[in-house]
Amino acid sequence: MDKILRVNMTDLTTAVEEVPAEWAGLGGRALTSTIVAREVPPACHALGPNNKLVFAPGLLSGTAASNSGRLSAGAKSPLTGGIKESNVGGTAAQMFARLGIKALIVEGMPQGEGWYALKVGKDGVTIEEERGLLGLGNFAVIEALQSLFGKKTGVIAIGPAGEMKLTSANISVKDPSGKIRSHGRGGLGAVMGSKRIKFIAIDDEGAPGISLADPEAFKAASRVFTKALMDHPVSGQGLPTYGTNVLVNILHEAGGLPTRNFTHGQFDGHEQICGETMHDTIVARGGKPRHGCHAGCVIQCSQVYHDQEGQYLTSGFEYETIWGLGANCLIKELDDIARADSLMDDLGLDSIETAVAFGVAMEAGILSWGDGKEVVRILREEIGKGTALGRVIGSGAGAVGRTYGVTRVPVVKNQAIPAYDPRSVKGIGITYCTSPMGADHTAGYTIATNILNVGGQVDPLKKEGQIELSRNLQIATAAIDSTGMCIFIAFPALDIPECLPALIDMINARFGAKLTGEDVTGLGKSVLKLERAFNLAAGLTSADDRLPEFFSSDPVAPHQAVWDFTNEEIDAFWDF
C-alpha cells in the first residue's frame, strides 16, 4: 500500500499516513503542487515554519518504463515568491517508489540551532540530530554516507549554500555513479536549509517494490514507448552523442544565444565551448560521452568530463551551465567552466541562476568579462565561505542587480532567464513570462518547434502562433512532469504517433486505470491552473508575467529583434 510520510520539524515527530483518495491518481509535479497548494498558506514566508517541502516520485517511477526515474520537489520558492516544482534524476525517485512512498512532506521548523538528518526506509522515516557533516560540500556528504550506510544508499542533500539559505541553493540527489543531479531551480535548497535538514538518507532494503495491475499490457506498452525513444533522431542519436551542449552552435547560428549578459545573440567563442568540441575533448581525454542520470534511461544525454591529465572533473555538464558561464560571461575555456560546474554541484548552487548572476556581476564591474579563474575563486572563497559578496551572488541574478544598480537583469519573477534569447526565439519568451515557475525553459520548451523542427515549425522571429505553442507545451509538460518521465521524451512524443498513447497505456497498466489522452491533457491544465492560483494568492499578479524592460527597448543582433508582445497578448495565454 502506498503511503505518505510526514515529518514535523517543529516538534520533531514523524507519521505514516494513508494516501487520500484524491491524491491516488497523482504523482510528481501534480502531487507536489497539489500538496503545496492545499497545505501551504500562499502568503507565508518561504523560509519560515509555514512553508512545506514535498518530495514525490512520478506515477511511473520505479517501474521498468524507460526514463521514468524523476523525483519532483515542491514548496513555495524563496526566489520567486510563488509555487515551485523542480524535478531531478538520480536514484531517489525509484527508491521512494519501491518503498511505496507516494510523497514525503517536511513541515515546521526547529526552534533551536541544531541540525538534523532524515532516514527513510521500509518502516517509515526517522529524524536524527546531525553534527559531523555540517558545512561539508555535497561530494563529501555522499562519500561519508556511502561509507556509513553502503554504496547503494540514496542521498538527498544540501551543500553550504543551502545551509546559508541562499536563494540560489539547490537540492542535490545522488546519481547511479555516486555523483550529483540537482533539483536546480527556485532555491529549494534554502527551504531544506530553513528546516535545518542537511541530508535525507534512503535505504530501500526490504522494500515491497512496485506492483502492476496488468503486467502484460505494461510490458507491451513499454516496448512501444522505448522503441519510439530509440527511433527518434533527437533522443535516439543526437542527445546520446553530443548531449545538450550541441545547442551552442545551433543557437549561435540562429542568433538566439544570449551573450555578454543578453546584449548580443551570438558569441565569437562558440566553437571553443560547443558540443562538438566538448565531445572530441571528452573522447580524447578518456571521459564518457554518454551517461545516464538514472537507471533505465535510454537517452544517456549526460557525460563524464575529464581534465587535461585525464582525471574526473565533472559530469552532468549541461548546455545551460556552459552557455551561462560561456557565452553569457564570455568565458572561452571549457575547463574553467567545468571546474565552476563541479564547484557549484559541491556547494549546492543552481548553475543557471549562478551563471546568470555572474553575468550581472560582470556588468556591475565586480569581475572582468571572461575571467573564468575569478569565477572559480569567487565560488570557492566568497560563496563557499559565506562572505557578504558571496551571499549576494549566491542569492541570484536579481539580488546582484538590485545590490549594484544594474538595469539589465534577465529575470522573470526574480528567477534567471536561461539560455535562449526571448527576442529572437519568441515562443520561449511566452514560456518565461507565463510559467508559474518563473523563467524556466523546461516548462514549455518551444525551442523544439521554434528552432529544432520538432513538432512542426513556428518561425522564432514572428509573433504568430507562439502563445498557442507555449500553452500546448506547458500543458503537456505539466502532465509529463507528473509521470516521472524525463522531459526529453517530448521529442519523440511530438513526432512519433505511438509514443504518447504508449505512455498513457503504461500508466493505465500500472494502476488499472482507464485514462485517455484527454484526461492527461486535463491533468496538465489543472496543474497549471492550481499553480497559477497559488501564485495569485501569494500576491503575484499579471504584472509579474512580463519580461524585463530592456528586452523591448534594446534590439538584439544579428536579427535586431525586440520583444514586442503586448500585455493583453501575453495575458491571453491563460484563456483555457
Binding site: 533522431p233 533527437v234 542519436q237 543526437g238 542527445l239 552523442t241 553530443y242 548531449g243 545538450t244 551542449n245 550541441v246 545547442l247 552552435n249 545551433i250 547560428e253 540562429a254 542568433g255 566553437e271 558540443g275 562538438e276 544525454c301 549541461e318 548546455y319 525553459h441 523546461t442 520548451y445 525551442i447 523544439a448 528552432i451 529544432l452 523542427n453 520538432v454 515549425q457 518561425d459 522564432p460 522571429l461 522531459i487 526529453f488 521529442f491 544579428p558 536579427h559
Partner: protein, 77 residues
C-alpha cells in the same frame, strides 16, 4: 552569369569526413537542395537548414555571400 560564393557551415556529425566551414561557388540562385545533395547528403538527413541565421525551405534560392548552415536532427535543453 558569374558564379556566387556561399559560405557553408556543417555541424555535429555532418562534419565527419567533410569540413566545419568552407566557401563554395555555385551558379546564381542555386537552391539549398542542390547544394545539400552536391555535398553527398540525403535530404532525409537534414534536421535544420538555415540561411543567414533563419530557417529556410529546401527550394530557397541562394545569393552572393549567403551563409548556409546545415544541422542533423539534434536537440537538447
Amino acid at each position: 552569369m558569374a558564379p556566387i560564393t556561399v559560405t557553408i557551415k556543417l555541424f555535429a556529425h555532418f562534419r565527419h569526413g567533410r569540413f566545419k566551414e568552407a566557401d563554395h561557388q555555385f551558379p546564381p540562385g542555386v537552391a539549398c537542395r542542390e547544394v545539400i545533395l552536391g555535398l553527398g547528403f540525403r535530404l532525409g538527413e537534414m534536421g535544420i537548414v538555415m540561411v543567414n541565421g533563419q530557417h529556410a525551405p529546401l527550394d530557397h534560392p541562394l545569393s552572393e555571400r549567403d551563409t548556409l548552415a546545415l544541422f542533423p536532427l539534434v536537440g537538447g535543453g
